[in-house]
Structures are given as C-alpha cells and as structure tokens.
Symmetry: C2
Subunit: 148 residues, 2 copies
Amino acid sequence: MSRVDTSYLESLLGYNCRRATLHVLSRFFDRMAVFGLRPVDFSVLSITMHNPGVTSRQVCGAINILSPNLVRIIQSLDERGLISRKTDAQDKRAIGLYLTSAGKKLMRDAEQSASELEIEAAAALSETERVQLIALLQKLYRPVDGES
Amino acid sequence: MSRVDTSYLESLLGYNCRRATLHVLSRFFDRMAVFGLRPVDFSVLSITMHNPGVTSRQVCGAINILSPNLVRIIQSLDERGLISRKTDAQDKRAIGLYLTSAGKKLMRDAEQSASELEIEAAAALSETERVQLIALLQKLYRPVDGES
DNA sequence: AAAAATAGGTATAAAAAATAACTATTACGA
DNA sequence: TCGTAATAGTTATTTTTTATACCTATTTTT
C-alpha cells in the first residue's frame, strides 16, 4: 500500500497546526476524562483559578469562544459545585466567577495531570524544543503590539 | 479593564496549538472562500492533485477525518466537476480520485493563494522561524519511528 | 435624558464529528 | 477451497461544537 505524499500540505502552517492540535488535544481529552472535564472545562476552571472574579466575557476572550456557548459550560460547572458566581458590586451587569473549594481541589489534581501529559505529549521533543515551540506558536497567534 | 492572566494555560502545548490553529485557519478559511473551498476541501483536492488515484481511505488518514464524513465532501467536489472517481481495476472495492482539468486549474490558483497567505499569516515570524515551527509541530504529531 | 455600548443570557440553526450498521469485494487460514 | 475475517466505501443517524439572532438589564457617552 503506497504511502500518500502530503509534502505540499506539510509545507503549510495551518495543516501542521491542526494536526498537532488534534494530537495533543485528544490525549488531553482522554486524561481529563477522569476528572469529568473536557479541555474547554479545564480551561475555564484554570482561568477562574488564576483569576478569581473573572467575568465570562473575559473567559470568552481568553479561550476564543462565543458567549452563548460559554453559558452552558458555566452552568454545568456551577451545578457540579466547582464554581460560584457573584454579581459585581460596582457593575451589576458583570458576574464574577470563583472556584469553590471543591473546584480548587479538583483543579490541583487536574493541573498536576496536565503537567504530566505535557511531558508525555512532548516526548519527541527536548525541553528546549518544547519551550521554543510554544514561543513560536505565541508569536504566530498573538496580535502584534499596536494592533487592535 | 484588567487583563486576564492566562500564563498557566500558555505554558501548555494544547492551548497554544489550538490558539494558533484558530488564528491561521480562520484566515485560510476567508481566503479560500473566493474559490468556494473550505480548508478541508482544499486539503482533499491538494492531496488528490499530488497523488492521482488516491483512495478516500488514504485521504482520511492523511487529514485525520473519518470516512463517513469524507463521503459528502467527495460527492460535492465531484458534482462541482473538480474531481472524478474511477474504480480500481485490480481492487474493485477501491475508488481512485483524480482532479479534472477544472480541478487542476482551480488548485493552481488556490495553492498560489495559500502560499501568499503563508507569508501573511507568518508575518510575525522570520522565514527561519516559520520553517523551525513547522519542523517542531511535525516532531510533535508524527508517530515515532517504530510505532504502529 | 436619549442613544449607544456592554454583560449576560435564551432560543435556535448550522456545521462538524462520531457511531452503528450495511454491501461488495478481497485476503486468509484451516 | 470453503468459510471467516478484513477492507473500501457508503448510508443513516446521533452527538457535539460552533455560529446567529435577538432580548433584558445595566452602564457609558453625548
């Protein structure tokens, strides 16, 4: 069975980014299943952990999802007792998110597991290469200084 | 409006890969709209262009999608007169894919446009960095020699 | 105070991805 | 060589993800 020549696609950033994302995220997905978290849940909790009082709007910007799609995620995390919501005193439109103690406990384990996966997923890379890869990815997707 | 601290997520490969993929692919999507192609259509056509007679099974492997989801894509490309399908003489189960002349013409323009985008999307990177980034991504997602 | 913008949300639609099962053909092992 | 398993492609269907349109309450702007 002759191999398929994908050399042209492999010369494109988009193809390689997508393949790498699928590779890493499917492993992340499997690992987080133990905690009942999808990657997106993990992201929301992690941001909330490191930014107590963060608003859903801010979360949307940080992980690039649309607000209507965040609603159910937050509701479900709330129902599971992992986060709590508190209306901001200054701006009554805004609702701050906070981890409950159960949420904190879960996330300590989940972030530990994520760190382990980080090593595992990047097994083919040296630590220098891993750091370098992340730096290059950020250069790629981060808005250039001075742009909107 | 205080900025959100995403430093933890930014230390993870998966988060960065996903952000970069969204960044690049959304631009790719916009650019290919002129040709009436989504990224996945472009990939299928490009693989067919460089591998005349490729089977849908091989295409699935190359771009990591499931065969039931490829069927409609191929049907639609066929209906648009961009590809043709020919049953293999040796193995009557297999169906080889080929670009029609219209398909070839379209892809010449589309690949040209993709190359332009490549420069544009990687504007923040030097050419060396772009090449380096692609190499690191491939190291990450490609199965290690000797694994299944 | 009126108009515009913002935060969050509801309802819904569209698109993408996954699952189960079927046909036809080919390969394999007893 | 016959029966079983595997493969290529497909259909039908479901689940999941993502996008759109619109609404309310509050805040900001003019």
